[in-house]
Structure formats: structure tokens, C-alpha cells
Assembly symmetry: C2
Homo-oligomer: 331 residues x 2
Amino acid sequence: MHILITGAAGFLGQRLARHLLTNPALERLTLSDLAPPPVPEGDSRVTSLAADLTRPSASKEIVTADITAFYHLAAVVSGQAEANFDLGMAVNCEGTRHLLEAVCHRAPGAKFLFASSLAVFGGDLPSVITDDTALKPQSSYGTQKAVCELWVNDYSRKGFVDGRVLRLPTVCVRPGKPNAAASSFASSIIREPLHEEVAICPVDPALELWLSSPNAVINNLAYALTLEAEQFGDSRTLNLPGITVTVQSMIEALTVVAGQAATDRIRYQMDQAISAIVASWPSRFDVEGAIALGFERDRSFQDIVRSFASEMNTAKAEMGRKNSIEKNNIT
Amino acid sequence: MHILITGAAGFLGQRLARHLLTNPALERLTLSDLAPPPVPEGDSRVTSLAADLTRPSASKEIVTADITAFYHLAAVVSGQAEANFDLGMAVNCEGTRHLLEAVCHRAPGAKFLFASSLAVFGGDLPSVITDDTALKPQSSYGTQKAVCELWVNDYSRKGFVDGRVLRLPTVCVRPGKPNAAASSFASSIIREPLHEEVAICPVDPALELWLSSPNAVINNLAYALTLEAEQFGDSRTLNLPGITVTVQSMIEALTVVAGQAATDRIRYQMDQAISAIVASWPSRFDVEGAIALGFERDRSFQDIVRSFASEMNTAKAEMGRKNSIEKNNIT
């Protein structure tokens, strides 16, 4: 089994790579991104490549006949795609199409897992989103993801690839630094206070979000690979499970886990551009179909915060141990 | 007012051109197609151009700053897009995108009327289609039209163009010869018998179709230009009005208008490929929204057949007159 992940330098890509590598049946894993992605634990099964998917030749270079599954995670994120329309179209639409063409010609019929987003929804929405809700995206990012969803479905119908389109909830809590995604604040308002740093909340705390923990998303991405094509109905597109929370309830969960001192580090500073994009996304989904197929969902946002805090502390302890060893080696 | 029509050599393009030219306020009309389209009545306001929209430079050549409205009708039809996937993608997706880019940069904010199709629908459909029905196209043509719908909406949201997406019912009765559209038979089974020729019916007569006469479609395409952007809600996409008929009821209407002798010229010869594509299209729509906006619908299929027969006879009489004049000139 040889799997390729695009956008593998990103947080989800790296985490997915680590997860897939726990499977001894995985013989090779190719990671690609604009710069060669880090190789988890220096695993010898991993090849790390630089590829700019906006160049048709780049897709041809990274796609080889022995690859049985592709995770296409590479994308320009929502805020950036809105600010730079041409870049969003080039990476999110044309890049995906070049990759689909390369797979279709060099590894025909391979599994093609495409990470889509709740941003495909927008406009005048029903109170609960189902797999039959019409797509009226109100952002360029959502439009570009919706376009690729249609392509992956048609390439699958034609037998060119064996596609699975997974619409990810907003992933929270992400470690690291804020990024250009309009949803970046959702992680910031939890992560920064836990790091004893100030965070900005740019939206009305009454705003509802549709969230999934990184763990649930990674488990679900890995699980999607095990499904048979026949388990999908008239569409290869699924809304992945998530939980519905208000920003206010997220902050309350932070207080429960980390105390009032953490919560006090949140500053409220409305950003109309971010609010407009995020408020156009739905927050309530009927995902019974996905649950029935075997996909998992988080239990509560408190659990998500606890899990993130625990991982953060483990990472800090690990960092401390390494620093201490280095210090001892020096002295 | 200067309008450009792509795909203007086609039946609808020529008919739309004739209709638009009846408006004295129209100063210029540019017609483009792979070969220079015929100029109706040799009207001096018309410029006729050859342009292959799959070449990005072609769009740049035909789009000029003084053009205030674009009718983008050029497309590879359904049967052809299914048989030649690459051609369908090149013309229907990339061609449309090149044109949108050219308009966005050379005639920003111009009206952009895109002819879409009921083929964007498919899969497990509700009994009645509304503007909120999810798109699960089951053909490459439907996929490509759905992709362009999303783009036209996003280009409109960004203010790059002022888009209107009109999903045309199957247009029937078309004059001329059968084409590679899967729906071509719908016109053949009426047109050929009226011309005293044999026609093939490749589908189950119980099959329901969603039809519009050429007159209603042309009137609606012209009317869409007069709407203000504000009259659209969260989407620039509309299902144009049509009527629901079974193939059987179409044949009965032919019998009423032209007698049993005409109907007897229809041969029944199932074609699985055509049946599969056409049966995946819906036949019942709620178009009250479009009607409220002022779009028109046909009264009955009998009226459509009568109108076609009358136009056919007028054309024959005209042809006879011309031949007679030519003959007299020769002798």
C-alpha cells in the first residue's frame, strides 16, 4: 500500500501522516507540499517532495502507478482565497483538476479522498443541513471546494478515480500559530489563553460553529479509506460529524478546564470580514448517514479542550526533557 | 448597447440574435462561434467572429470594454460531453472560465447570462425540483454546467460580472437535424414525422420530460437581461419555466395536430445510453419564483407542435418563393 498526501506540511497533513504510519500494512507514504514536508520520526517508508500543483507538470511528477490512495488536502484557506481570488482559483480549482487528471492517467481507479468544507454551504439555509442541501457558497473558498466536489464525483462516476469527498467541520483546537483561515480564531481563543497569551475574538459570542477535534477528523479521514465504493449512494460527498457550539459555550468550556484566568485573556474585537464569512457557514447538520457508515464524532467541547491541553502539556514536557538533555550534553 | 453571444451559430444563438436585433436600442451585436456565425438578414449592426474559447487568448480577443452583456451559449452538448470527457471539460469548464476572466478584466461588471441545464440535477431526487434542490449531476455535461453555475455566482458576488444563470428545460421542437445531445430525440419524434420522415424514439414512452418551446426560451433569455441584480436573492441561478410531458403525450399531441400518418412514422428502438442520461434528469419543477419574476411558460405541448408546424410551413413557403424567383431569373 502506497499513499500520497498533498498539503502534507500542514497540521492535518502531518497528523494524518503520523496516523497512517501506525499501520504496518503501509509500505510507502509520499508527502508533498510547496516545500518538502517534514518526515514524521524520520520513518524510512516516507518520501517527501516539493510540488506546486498549479503547474500541471507537478502533478504528473508526484503521481506514480503504484499509489493506491490519494489524500488531497492542499488548499489555499478561506481568508486567503477571499483576499486573493486568482490564487484561490489556481490552487483550489486548477490544482485539484491537474491532480485528478494525473491520477486518472497514471493511477486510474485509485482512491481519491478530497477534504472539502462546510464553507460550500451559505445563503438562505435550512435550520439543519443534510446531504441534500443545495450549495450556495458565499465565499470563493466555498465555491472552489464545491466545484472540486462536483469534479471528484464525476471522475468517480466515470471510473477515473474512486473518490470520497469529506466535508470537514471547522477543526478546533489546532495547535501552532493563527493562519489565514476565517475560522482561525476558533482555535486561537482556546489555544492562546492556554499558552498564557492574549487572544482576539473577532465575532459575536452568540455565533454558532460546527466543530470537530483534530483527532476525530484524522480518524475519519483514515476510516474513509476503508469504505467500499458501493457504500456510497448517488454521491461520493459526505458531511463529516461534528458538534454544534456557540463561541460563548466554547469560552465557558475553557473556563471549566483552565479557570477564569485563562478566559480573561480573551479580548473582544469585532472583525466584519471574518464575521461575514463565518456567519454564512451553517452550524447544525444531520449526519446520521455518516454515523451509520461508521464515522465518529466528538462527545463535547470540554473533552476537546481537555484533550488539547493534555497534548500541549505532553509536548511541553517533551520539549523540556529534550532541552534538559541538550543542556546536560553541553555541560 | 453592445451584446455578445457565444455559440451564436447554434439554433438558439441565431434565434436569440434575431430577437435581440428587433430592439432598436441595440447598437452592436457580436456573434462568435468556432466558425463565424451567419449574420441575420445581413444586419449592419452585427459583427461575426470565429473564436475557440478553449484558447485563453480567444476570449481576450472577442471581449471588448464597450460590451455591456454577454450571452454564453457555447457548449459541448450532453451526449458529446459524455463520449469525449476531455473535450467537455475543455469547452464547458475551461472555456467558460476563460470567458469569465476576460469579461472580469476587460468589461468588468457586465451582465453575464449563462445558459445552464436541467442536467445539473440527478441521483435520488425529490418529486418536485425547487431552487433549493442539491445538485448531483449524473453526466459530465451536467457536472460541467453545475461547476460553471458556481463560478458565475462567485464572480457575481465579487462584482466581477453581473451574472444570471438560467437553467433551460429541454428545448423542443428544435428545427434542423438531430445533434449529439441526449435529448435530441425529443425534437426528432415531432420534427421528422412533420417532414414526412421516419424518427426513432430511443426511450420508454412513459418517460417524463421537462420542456420549453424555443419561443419561450428566447423570450426568457431576453427578459433576463432586463432584471436588476437586486431582484436575485442569495443565488443568481434560476430554473426557467417549462412544462411536464410524457413522451407518449407528446406523440398524442403530434397525432392531434398532424394526424395518425405522422405518428406512424415513429419507430421505437431503445437506446440504453440515451435513456440512462435522460431518465436521470428531473421532469417536475416548482418555478413559481421565476414566474413571479416575470419569466413566461408555454401553455401546452399541442401549442408547441402547432407553432413549430406553422413556422415550418412558413419556411417552406419562403423557400418555395425563393426557388421560384431563382428559377424565373434563370429562365
